[in-house]
């Protein structure tokens, strides 16, 4: 029997609802309907009075969560799509993120953000917004790439006293399966070596971990051993693991699915250049999505985001220095 990434998210919510009376779920179409992606299927029936459908009011959903957290609750808010969190941007970055610093009272809310592209989902149901939120002080931004991380990091997110933006990748929902949800017990804030290697390091997160591993497998045929670092959380960012990997390989490719201007990959390159310039044998490289809105057509979409081909190409360039 196997567990999918979306199963893991559902199971994690079931577990926290069962074990922590402070938890409730609030989001659009999440009660009887079970959510647009079925991440809350059956939970409204299993936990009466704790799973709520709400109006299409992303701003007010987060405001409500902050108020509930002030009152000691641990709300989990489902944004139907990460893209729609732009409507809640103010409440997330100005209300939730500043609350602890300003008042000394943390607001433990978890916002689940179905994120990233899938074929045909187009400009407004595909975005990767982690870099935007990571830019704001006061938020924890996590980006699980594995079934086990989806499960354990969601449970851990609910336990954290700070607001957590939980970026779950829609492309992984049903495609990614594991034999069980058991994991390696890494805490939020620690990266993982997803694939060991010695010639170059790819630092990435979320669905791109799998594309990077595919690219690394291809380059193996040519004798290249590529190390893939899965950041797991982009904020905090585990620079130690990244630097240790770059120290082994001397070469860095920062890979992400978000738009190319700034963002997580830029931050990784900047930090490694600052702290580990002496470790680098080649100019650090970045590979991101293209600088256009995410296109609708599957052919365009597939070429908009990094692919194993474009990752291999970037790595060959990196290895050629």
């Amino acid at each position: 029997m196997s567990v999918t990434y979306i199963d893991a998210i559902r199971e994690a919510q079931e577990k926290v609802l069962r074990e922590d009376g402070r938890v409730f779920l609030y989001g659009q179409d999440i009660a009887r309907f079970g959510g647009a992606f079925k991440a809350t299927k059956g939970l409204a029936e299993e936990f009466p009075g704790r799973v709520f459908d709400c109006p299409i009011s992303e701003d007010a959903m987060i405001g409500l969560a902050v108020g509930a957290a002030i009152e000691g609750m641990r709300p989990i808010i489902e944004m139907q799509f990460a893209d729609f969190s732009s409507i809640a941007f103010n409440q997330i970055v100005n209300q939730a993120a500043t609350h602890f610093y300003r008042t000394g009272m943390p607001v433990p809310i978890v916002v689940r953000l179905p994120s990233g592209g899938t074929p045909g989902s187009g400009p407004f149901h595909s975005q990767s917004m982690e870099g935007i939120y990571a830019q704001y002080p006061g938020l924890v931004v996590v980006t699980p790439a594995t079934v086990s991380d989806a499960y354990h990091m969601l449970i851990e997110s609910v336990k954290l006293d700070d607001p957590v933006l939980f970026f779950e990748h829609k492309f992984l929902y049903r495609w990614l399966k594991a034999k069980s949800i058991n994991g390696d017990g890494l805490p939020i804030g620690q990266a993982r070596i997803a694939r060991p290697g010695k010639h170059a390091t790819v630092v990435t997160y979320s669905a791109m971990v799998h594309e990077a591993v595919r690219a690394a497998d291809r380059l193996q045929a040519d004798g290249w051993e590529i190390e893939v670092v899965d950041l797991r959380s982009v904020k905090p960012l585990d620079l130690d693991t990244v630097l240790a990997s770059v120290a082994r390989t001397g070469r860095l490719l920062a890979l992400g699915e978000a738009f190319p201007w700034g963002g997580v990959t830029a931050e990784v390159v900047a930090k490694v250049t600052e702290e580990g310039f002496h470790l680098l044998d080649a100019p650090p490289q970045r590979l991101n999505a293209r600088d256009t809105p995410v296109p609708y057509h599957p052919k365009l979409w597939a070429a908009h985001r990094p692919t194993p081909e474009s990752i291999c190409e970037a790595l060959r360039k990196l290895l050629s220095f």
Binding site: P55, I62, G63, P236
Partner: protein, 330 residues
């Protein structure tokens, strides 16, 4: 709702304390002793105090906005919280990390506002929602104030609609002071009276003369009572005029003299004073003695805050997260 004398005395004293405090804040600002801005509730004290005095600290929650010094005072905020925050004392609730009216004590049911208007509506809704889930709602209410400008925001709409859908005991006071910063009502909304919106949200609406303490106390008292009794969200629109600029940096010269000399240009404190004296709830001498007490209280609160240390950037821990992640992470 009939209003009792003790309530009016309490509300009026809060108005007086707020006015005298704010006059001092204005002087301090003009003397360069307060950095940032000073935002006064002059002219809005009656509606603000009526709301604050109708709430029970420890049971109710209240998100004041920028012109609610009187409401904060009536709700029970210590005056020293105000002077410490304005003067940047590290002893204040915001410890110099935020200033002026952006202060609160969420643990006492008074969250700290952010500048983005309408944003506190859903926060108060969330506090009430949580109380209901915890089973501690028990006749408590949540209240917040906004101005006419905030009613144009998406946050106001989302928050009030959500509160109505959830049937929460939320009392929202809209102080229509005719100008959002410099923008007059006719460039802000196209309905006749903002109270017309209440029925669209499925909430109970009230319209009141915001310069009349007696009327405000009656209407707000009724709204709070109905919310307490399970009547769902209540929306009170108070008509008044801001008797100051948007902040003390602003002379409000855009307010036409006809507005200043019109009915809503009257000073609610003078109106309330007459009401109290005429009804026999207070004597003129008593009111003078309250005035003196308030002036003394203000002097003390200012002097204390001025003596206290300001935040030290070298001792500040410069962290926005309560979770301690390993130092190697960034």
């Amino acid at each position: 709702m009939p209003v009792d004398g003790d309530f009016l005395r309490e509300a009026f004293r809060s108005m007086l304390r707020a006015r005298i405090l704010e006059n001092k804040l204005s002087s301090l600002y003009k003397a360069g002793k307060i950095v940032g801005g000073v935002y006064l509730g002059r002219g809005q004290e009656a509606i603000s105090a009526a709301l604050g005095a109708s709430l029970i600290q420890g049971k109710d929650c209240y998100a004041p906005l920028i012109r609610d010094q009187a409401g904060r005072t009536a709700f029970g905020e210590a005056m020293i919280d105000c002077t410490r925050t304005y003067l940047g004392s590290v002893e204040g609730p915001m410890r110099g990390r935020d200033g002026n009216i952006h202060r609160g004590r969420p643990e006492m049911g008074m969250p700290a506002m952010i500048s983005h208007l309408g944003a506190q509506v859903s926060v108060i809704a969330g506090m009430l929602f949580a109380k209901r889930l915890k089973g501690t709602l028990d006749g408590s209410v949540g209240a917040t104030s906004v101005g006419d400008g905030a009613t144009s925001t998406g946050a106001f709409h989302e928050g009030l609609n959500l509160a109505a859908v959830e049937k929460l005991p939320l009392v929202i006071v809209v102080a229509n002071n005719q100008f959002a910063y410099s923008t007059p009502n006719h460039r802000q909304f196209a309905c006749g009276d903002l109270v017309e919106r209440a029925s669209g949200y499925g909430v109970v609406g009230y319209s009141v003369d915001g310069t009349d303490l007696l009327a405000c106390a009656g209407v707000v008292g009724e709204a709070v009572k109905r919310a307490r009794e399970g009547g769902g969200p209540q929306m009170v629109v108070a008509h008044l005029l801001r008797l100051a600029g948007h902040g003390e940096h602003d002379d409000g010269s855009y307010v036409p003299s006809s507005a200043r000399t019109g009915h809503y240009g009257r000073d609610c404190i003078e109106v309330a004073m007459r009401q109290l004296v005429e009804a026999g709830y207070a004597t003129v001498d008593e009111i003078f003695s309250w005035q003196e007490e308030s002036a003394e209280e203000v002097q003390k609160a200012v002097a204390q805050a001025q003596q206290e240390p300001s935040p030290d950037p070298y001792r500040e821990d410069w962290t926005a997260l309560s979770t301690k992640f390993p130092a190697s992470t960034t």
